[in-house]
């Protein structure tokens, strides 16, 4: 059963909202609660961050949540333990997002195996570039029937976007700007032109826009030329500020 495809097929006329959070944040055992609250709150897809000590592509908010999760004692083994019965909780697509170093220590194949066991649908690993993915990791990912979502950015030339589109599966993560993760208040006209340019390329994969999406203005702007958007830092901030995870989800949804 391909949950990601089913989602994109079923939402042809609506925008898709995908939300990122860091596993083991704000508390070690809040992982399942957060997934349940997001799913109950109507979010379409969830990206579960595997905390890493040195998250090179992340801004301060996600960095701090990763550090907090590690201080809480979060590990990859514990994550799979927590996710053991997650398919009894929700049927929306769940994606693991992390960095290659922790995946290597866990064993990349082992990671795929465990992911399939608990019902994960795919991976986003921003420091595995296209070339390394195609030569070293793609055969393993495909063997396990998982999706691998590659990223494109405003700096990615058209020819490379085509290659990324052909290697990527599930969808393409369209990074909004030259930046690390982190909330922005508005998206410039430049960004709109870039989103439109990508839309006009008619890629085989659908695209979702991420990095900087935080409120109605940025969500709508992101969605204008894509199938939806991904929110990360703004939700992590809500988790910090709100008394419960349910309140954090409510606060996020109310801003959109």
């Amino acid at each position: 059963m391909d949950r990601i495809k089913r989602l994109f097929d079923s939402k042809k006329n609506e925008k898709i909202l995908s939300v990122y959070f860091t596993a083991g944040f704000p508390k070690k055992d809040s992982t399942v609660d957060v997934i349940k609250a997001l799913s109950d709150g109507g979010v379409d897809m969830i990206e579960i961050g595997i905390p890493f000590s040195d998250p090179m592509a992340d801004g301060p908010v996600i960095q701090q949540s990763s550090q907090k999760a590690l201080d809480n004692g979060m590990t990859q083994n514990l994550l799979f333990e927590q996710l053991k019965d997650i398919r009894k909780v929700t049927d929306i697509p769940l994606i693991l997002m992390g960095y290659i170093n922790t995946a290597m220590q866990f064993g990349f194949e082992n990671l795929c195996k465990k992911a399939v066991e608990v019902g994960i649908d795919g991976f986003i690993i921003p420091d595995i570039p296209l070339e390394e993915y195609s030569s070293q990791y793609k055969p393993i990912v495909e063997k396990y029937g998982l999706k691998f979502i590659l990223l494109i950015t405003p700096e990615t030339p058209e020819e490379r976007i085509r290659k990324i589109d052909s290697a990527s599966s599930g969808f393409i993560y369209m990074v909004s700007s030259a930046s690390t993760t982190g909330a922005q208040n508005s998206f410039s006209e430049d960004k709109q032109r870039y989103f439109k340019k990508i839309a006009d390329m008619n890629l085989k994969n659908p695209t979702l826009v991420g990095f900087g999406v935080s409120n109605k203005a940025t969500f709508d702007a992101a969605c204008e030329h894509s199938r939806g958007a991904i929110i990360g830092s703004a939700f992590i901030r809500a988790l910090e500020e709100q008394p419960t995870v349910q309140d954090a989800v409510k606060s996020l949804i109310s801003k959109l």
């Binding site: 890493f52 000590s53 040195d54 998250p55 090179m56 592509a57 801004g59 301060p60 960095q63 701090q64 550090q67 590690l70 590990t75 990859q76 083994n77 960095y99 290659i100 170093n101 922790t102 995946a103 290597m104 220590q105 866990f106 921003p126 420091d127 595995i128 570039p129 296209l130 390394e132 590659l150 990223l151 494109i152 950015t153 700096e155 990615t156 030339p157 490379r160 990324i164 990074v175 030259a178 930046s179 690390t180």
Partner: protein, 395 residues
């Protein structure tokens, strides 16, 4: 055996370019242009002149007579400590800023730990009139006050990094994040043979002037280009890469490198990455890394601020794996003893990093006929606080 980088950017199984997509275009442009630029006659003329007139090269190859008597072999010191700004780091900073200019970049970022690379970068930015931002862990900003003042006087903006452990690896993360946010106008001047391909090769080539000079100088003094042993310390591994570069394929020259064991490799206060690290990816390169079984990077410890990096240049991971280089884990105490010995025998106060290399002279066995070249990567001025505290009451 080829110990240099291959077409794909790997040294054996180490290396590569594991950077986020936003940097792929930059890294590709660099990869496609660096060799062409660095081999062009006008580039060579410009860098040679700067190395000579500005950095003070060639640095002497000094026969250390009294030290030789103690060691029981012929010991030469390659005096990188006499370079402008006090360490070998200037060789690389000069090279990379010329590269940055030819790539059309207008803004420079760098990371620094002890501050030597930050000072070298701030220096060349002053010289070339370019904007300079140096990321430095907050802990290091407080520990290396003098170098922070130097960078500021040189006109650089020093940004204290408060993420992670607030030291070198975090400063490197932050420099990479800055580069992600400013890919069009910014050039990242990396301070050692680390980072995504082609950086390890770029830095090794700019530091290779060290072994180029050793060859000539040893020929004059000993009638032969090849020593029996080359010895250098490794933090990321740039002074060692430069010291070994033109001898890599010449297997009769034995390569010894010193990494920092801190309080000992059987303690958790250590920075002995090659002895203790496991394969992983840090700062864009597949290499040996000090980490937990779950893949979290461990903060290393050494008395030397320039050697406490949790990774190692991919070239050195491969040299150790292939048995081409022998790696010694030198403790704080062995290094400090070696520093005092050099100071008292030769009147040279070395940087604590370099003292780790010098300590190998007391750890390994040599024959009286052996010719040894030890690279003294920097001078000890920046370390006087640490030395005085360590030797308190002894002078």
């Amino acid at each position: 055996m080829n110990y240099n980088v291959n077409e794909q950017g790997y040294y054996g199984e180490f290396g590569g370019a594991y950077v986020p997509e936003i940097l792929q275009k930059n890294v590709k442009e660099l990869r496609e242009n660096y060799l062409k630029i660095m081999q062009s006659p006008d580039f060579i003329a410009e860098i040679d002149q700067l190395l000579h007139d500005y950095a003070g090269r060639p640095t002497p190859l000094y026969f250390a007579k009294r030290l030789s008597e103690e060691v029981g072999a012929k010991v030469y010191l390659k005096r990188e400590d006499l370079c402008h700004t006090g360490a070998h780091k200037i060789n690389n900073a000069l090279g990379q800023i010329l590269l940055a200019r030819r790539m059309g970049k207008t803004r420079i970022v760098a990371e620094t730990g002890a501050g030597q690379h930050g000072v070298a970068t701030a220096t060349v930015c002053a010289l070339m009139n370019m904007e300079c931002v140096v990321y430095m862990g907050e802990t290091d900003v407080n520990r290396q006050f003098l170098n922070v003042q130097r960078m500021k006087m040189l006109g650089a903006k020093v940004v204290p990094v408060i993420s992670g452990n607030k030291t070198l690896k975090d400063a490197t993360n932050e420099a990479i994040r800055d580069w992600c946010c400013n890919p069009q106008n910014t050039f990242y001047i990396i301070g050692s043979v680390v980072g995504p391909h082609p950086y390890p090769d770029i830095v090794a080539k700019f530091q290779s002037v060290i072994s180029e000079e050793i060859k000539k100088q040893l020929k004059e003094k000993e009638g032969r280009e090849n020593p029996d042993y080359l010895i250098a310390c490794v933090g990321g591994g740039s002074n060692a890469a430069g010291t070994f570069y033109h001898y890599l394929q010449n297997e009769e020259v034995k390569l010894y490198e010193a990494e920092a064991a801190g309080l000992g490799i059987d303690t958790d206060m250590t920075a002995a990455t090659i002895h203790l690290g496991k394969e992983g990816v840090l700062h864009g390169s597949r290499t040996l890394i000090m980490q937990t079984p779950d893949g979290q990077i461990v903060e290393p410890y050494s008395i030397s601020a320039g050697l406490d990096y949790p990774g190692i240049g991919p070239m050195h991971a491969n040299l150790a794996r292939m048995g081409r280089a022998k790696v010694f884990a030198i403790t704080d105490k062995q290094a400090m003893d070696a520093a005092l010995r050099l100071t008292r025998l030769e009147g040279i106060i070395p940087a604590i990093e370099s003292s780790h290399a010098l300590a190998i002279l007391a750890e390994a066995k040599f024959k009286p006929s052996d010719v040894i070249v030890v690279t003294v990567s920097g001078r000890g001025d920046k370390d006087m606080n640490t030395y005085s505290k360590y030797f308190e009451g002894q002078f």
